[in-house]
Amino acid sequence: MDNFNSLIADAELGSFSTLMDDADLIYLYDGTLEGMLSSVFAAYGRHEHPKNIVEAHDLQESMLCSYVPIRTELRYAARVQKGIVEQLGDRAYEDVKKVFLSDDTNKGGVIYRFLRYAFKAGRWSMSHISEPPVADFLEIRKQVENEAHYMLMFVRFAHLQNGVFYAHIEPKASVVPLITDHFARRLNVQPFIIYDSVHGLASVFDTERWWLVSSDEINLPAHSCVEDDYQALWQTFYDTIAIEERRNPRCQRNFMPKRFWGNMCEHIPPELRKTKPSTETPTHAARLQAGSQKLLDAPL
């Protein structure tokens, strides 16, 4: 980042010529949404058509391109935001934010080209699905939405000793902000944490509201006394429900790509599963007889 800031200083001292061939021009931003929107603002301000807008961090420099680092200016970003909302509608701004959650390193350029097109073509441009700038934008939006949907399917919560349900995910886009509402509605009776270790982002729900926490690491208590039992029940169900004569691993992986398996307890191989001797904890039957009230009070 120091390097990035000194580049900006250079750029603003005028050591850059604005007469560059646009085809080779690449803007660099600091990786924030505001930085990306500032870059869009800069392209209009500088009368340029950058080929791409990329995060300085992701940069793989090429001799053939000229790089212009763009300083993040909140007021410029706000003006672009206002322009999007006023000219293209609230939904369009939501979509820009959604596309920005993608891990695609070209997302900046895709958003920029979409906005260039849309500011010219008007409010209905989102429906011009055969135009490349719109198609590319919608493609990334779809990838982000698909990744979010995969999470609704495959997130697995484990019950911890402190009563919190915890899920670890490794998505290809930073979808925690998109999926937490779903779980906060559905599972409103239990506190939970969803932690995305790839993007270092967690959502924390306390049964009333949820918020985001940035963190590169997380310290967790052990599983509660019932957790391993439930995992064993689920693993048993999962293995039993398959029809052996119809085994079809290709189809299975097609619907449920392997990259998700690491965070799903039904995919823990039998030799690594925790089987607890039943003498240590009360059996299910004993707990079941303990009465319903206790079960309703305590998260299962």
Partner: protein
């Protein structure tokens, strides 16, 4: 018996049931209660056979007083038998739901003593889950042929979807293989549930339940294909009439898997999944593509072509209606083009409102030319390299199928769910 062992027995006994969908009803979450439902449904895992797992699919009991020839749970089979208690079942559902393993419960059952006795036990279990545990997730309950009206009302208020299995595609087959389940004992309750959905039947004893729509996700049924000699024509005619007269949401097919040896059953022959797949394709054409059953199949050729899907088949038999001009054809005609689905047709309509559609646009519209290219023009021209020759199209399409199978791609899994 430990719960783990019970679950093993009762999930194993339920696995041949096909339906595992959680769609068709949208119910909002309520503060302080667990669960909601989404109209589109959510799959939560996929088993080793590639089938989706969205519900905890178990039998309430596998102790059966019937002796249906094709069924693993027939009373003459010597298998371990067990029954869940309502509390065990509720704990399983709640525990799995809180961990995001499932959308809800699919509860079926063997016939313990009598249909009414069994249904009462099932209602007890569901009532505990809904009222005491406040569960608002999805529940699909099997109704047993011959269940009385009062109990169907209670079941329909507790569950989101109710299904009665037609089991086999003809009355003769049913009499032969499942003599205790008659045609009338299935169709009677089915018609009752249909009327109940229209009239929104209520059960006064269940007044504490807030959600009171009767069977909000509708009815479905399933039948075994290939255990008995009915043709695809008979099967599709039957499903078309069930959609029409019984207003079912879904008819499921299950390719016959031999689980019992019995002189009345075909010996050791599995029905190819491809047949099931073709039947589902035909079913899709009826439900989403506005095809009439008589357009798909006729008595003269009572089995669907294994090499070419039913939509291609229709197109080839009506080749005078092709090629279709993508920029001019009405939506209904776009839907009839092989290789173009509901989404594709809608995208074309949306895109051509802005400007005319060209071949190079189609990949951006996510439309594959693999099959469609033989049947379309853009602005009057065919796709590059395509010669419109009706006589060779069949061979080219059939060749694709053969090539795919040679590569070891299995037909018959519901890839259609994607489209």
């Amino acid at each position: 018996m430990e719960l783990l062992d019970k679950l093993t027995i009762l999930a194993d006994a339920a696995k041949y049931d096909v339906a595992c969908t959680s769609c068709g009803v949208s119910r909002k979450a309520v503060k302080g209660q667990l669960g909601n439902t989404m109209n589109a449904g959510i799959c939560h895992s996929f088993s080793a056979d590639g089938r989706c797992i969205t519900l905890l699919k178990v039998l309430y009991t596998n102790m059966c007083s019937y002796d249906c020839t094709y069924c693993i749970n027939r009373r003459s089979n010597e298998v371990p038998r067990t029954t869940l208690t309502p509390r065990e079942l509720a704990e399983l559902v709640i525990g799995f739901y809180r961990r995001n393993y499932i959308e809800g419960l699919f509860l079926s059952s063997a016939v313990l003593k009598s249909p009414d006795y069994t249904t009462e036990r099932i209602c007890e279990a569901l009532q505990l889950l809904r009222e005491t545990y406040g569960f608002r997730g999805y529940i699909h309950a099997k109704a047993i042929p011959g269940t009385s009206d009062d109990l169907l009302v209670r079941l329909g208020v507790l569950a989101d979807r109710v299904s009665l299995n037609i089991e086999l595609p003809s009355e003769e087959s049913l009499r032969l293989l499942a003599p205790e389940k008659g045609k009338e004992s299935t169709l009677g309750p089915m018609a009752f549930v249909r009327d109940g959905i229209k009239a929104n039947f209520q059960d006064k004893q269940l007044s504490t339940i807030k959600r009171t729509r009767f069977v909000p996700a509708g009815q479905s049924t399933q039948m075994i294909v290939g255990a008995t000699p009915e043709s695809d024509y008979q099967i599709l005619k039957l499903s078309a009439s069930l959609y029409k007269t019984m207003e079912l949401r879904r008819v499921f097919f299950s390719a016959y898997i031999p689980v019992n040896a019995d002189p009345l059953l075909p010996a050791g022959v599995e029905t190819p999944l491809l047949r099931e797949h073709r039947l589902y394709q035909a079913d899709w054409l009826m439900r989403f593509y506005e095809f009439d059953v008589n357009e798909i199949i006729d008595e003269g050729e009572p089995f669907l072509d294994p090499l070419v899907d039913p939509k291609c088949n229709w197109a080839l038999r009506h080749i005078d209606q092709f090629p279709v001009e993508l920029n001019k054809a009405p939506y209904e005609m776009l839907l009839r083009i092989p290789g173009i689905g509901v989404r594709g047709a809608k995208r074309i309509v949306q895109a051509r409102r802005h400007r005319s559609v060209r071949f190079e646009d189609l990949s951006r519209l996510k439309i594959s030319l693999k099959r469609a290219k033989y049947f379309i023009t853009c602005n009057g021209a065919y796709a590059q390299g395509v010669i419109f020759d009706p006589s060779s199209i069949y061979n080219q399409l059939a060749g694709e199928t053969k090539k795919r199978r040679a590569k070891g791609v299995l037909d018959g899994q519901l890839q259609l769910l994607d489209s």
